[in-house]
Symmetry: C2
Subunit: 344 residues, 2 copies
């Protein structure tokens, strides 16, 4: 509320008027400064376009880079709304297995033999699995992509939310000139204002994305851009993130403890070092989708694995989110889910 009152008083009608497609220069400068400081990049505001959430970045990248039949390499499984966004252009997906280490290198090399336009990866606390690429895997992926005429898209909405272990470097950002890095304020400031950003060293690509964005929504809500910029400038984001991380770690631990207590030992799960999700693997042949309505009856919700894959039905996997409920609620939810799993 302080920021709202301040931007209206300071900038008057500018916060309500039409604005430029690339986004508020001050906000882009803030982003450049932050990424340069943390990751040693050399960004200027010209390397950044503000988007209407990261989701719009996915839509724009699909529009600009894909024609029907073009190849897209994705993780298996991957973020369902990325599949949705890219699917609008009717590409061919080449899923590459995501392991505890990261993207499976041999499968990646094989997939690259197809006419692929880009690789879509979420190296930190992946959605849906919560997995993080290891330092070694990042090097391997970089070496495979170096010099190839293919764009690496690193989608990083959760990187700031590491509650365990050390931050790892980006694979492409600052190293592969045709890479794109996606970021967002949805997980650190507010999701409801739909404010994300695209970072790239390739200004020709950014120009195409900007032209496409103009045809999509002219520009992202300028009031919210001013507001988020003012909020970030006048508050300690790192302190705020530190607070969230303590909370998420505690809740993740509560979820894992409860699963150890209430789930049959045949059920496996990933152990996230940050982010919002973990990924359950049920015994072979058990469909998470068919479990879903029965869980809902007990007022427990999760996301069944199916929509995170291309063409797989009744997968034995599911995504759980530990950020939006307190430890007690999490324990009770896992207890009820455990009962159902034991019945099965």
């Amino acid at each position: 509320m302080e920021s709202m009152n301040r931007i209206v008083k300071t900038y008057g009608s500018s916060v309500f008027q039409y604005s430029i497609t690339a986004g508020l220069p001050e906000l882009r400068q803030y982003i450049a400064d932050r990424y340069n400081r943390i990751f040693g990049l050399t960004l200027t505001p010209d390397n950044i376009i503000i988007t209407t959430g990261s989701q719009q970045a996915l839509d724009l990248i699909g529009k600009v880079m894909l024609d029907k039949g073009d190849g897209v390499i994705i993780e298996k499984p991957t973020y369902l709304a990325a599949i949705q966004a890219f699917s609008m252009q009717q590409p061919v997906f080449y899923p590459v297995e995501l392991t505890e280490e990261g993207m499976e290198p041999e499968q990646l090399e094989k997939a690259l033999q197809n006419p692929v336009k880009f690789i879509y990866a979420i190296p930190d606390f992946q959605n849906p699995t919560g997995l993080t690429y290891s330092a070694e895997n990042r090097k391997q992926v970089y070496e495979i992509l170096k010099g190839k005429d293919v764009v690496l898209i690193e989608d990083d909405p959760y990187g700031e939310l590491r509650f365990d272990g050390e931050r790892l470097p980006y694979i492409g950002a600052g190293k592969l000139p045709n890479s794109i890095l996606l970021g967002t304020f949805s997980k650190t400031v507010t999701p409801g204002m739909r404010t994300g950003f695209i970072i790239s060293e390739n200004k020709e690509l950014l120009k195409c994305i900007s032209v496409a964005k103009e045809a999509c929504d002219l520009h992202t809500n300028i009031f919210s851009q001013y507001l988020i910029w003012d909020y970030l400038t006048n508050n300690d984001l790192d302190m705020h993130i530190a607070k969230i991380k303590v909370l998420y770690q505690k809740q993740a631990q509560a979820m894992m403890d409860a699963m150890d207590r209430y789930f049959p030992s045949t059920v496996k799960y990933t152990k996230p070092h940050g982010g919002m999700f973990l990924w359950i693997t049920l015994p072979k042949g058990v469909s998470a989708m068919s479990l879903f309505p029965r869980a809902l009856e007990k007022k427990v919700a999760f996301v069944p694995g199916d929509p995170f894959y291309i063409g797989i039905e009744n997968a034995n996997t599911m995504r759980l989110n530990y950020t939006n409920a307190d430890c007690e609620t999490i324990e009770e939810g896992i207890r009820r889910l455990g009962e159902l799993l034991k019945e099965l």
Copy 2:
């Protein structure tokens, strides 16, 4: 600022959180009530999707309805950013002459012999021409479309800004079941918050649009939806619009008076009854595009006609906007433009 403080106090974190794709139910109810009252429609919130500006509505309609090569009927000339948005899907455009009466009926019938998915029309104070379809022309267009398997899109960002004559009924809304009506708060409340809406009686079509929107940006900025809704509920929109209209009428008149005084008599212009624009036709063979850099040197800007057409270069037409400068500035701008025109 009152609304901002009130919604944060009343709704707390809801105004900052993720929300539903169709948009804030209260805002959709407000829109339904307003259109039902003014136009005698029978809308419910289920007939309405909130979009990230009207521009997003154009993008979504293109995505949902067009495959490569499909036909789109447009006015000649038409809104340049609609051409941009639809072009993403590589359709074939069939332009129909826009006259002082509206859409030329014979050309419309002829264009409909092609495999056309939809007709895009701006019947009130059209962008770029400022022209309005007559009551008679609306009836003709309705009779031509009635019973045909084609969607009429009526884009109406300016309809509320009528400063002369009586409001005319919509062509499709409430009458043609497959018609779509587009509206926006950009011209009446604020453009910077990118809040528009799609209205249709065809709920199947709306469902497809909603799925496409989810892949584009999940939902429109929810803070701004609450804010605009609160503002509209606690303030008299009609009084605000009445104030704008007086201003725009005065400025439109100042522009027309100045053109009569300073322009060669071979230059023609449209006389708008509302909206924001008027349209200049120069003598045949005089290119508005080549005039543009010379006008800029004299610090006068306008939009040359070319981008409002398909495949026409060096058109002898241009769009002027009278809403964003005071009468004195308008007169001085027209005087300078007149000097250039006389030199030509």
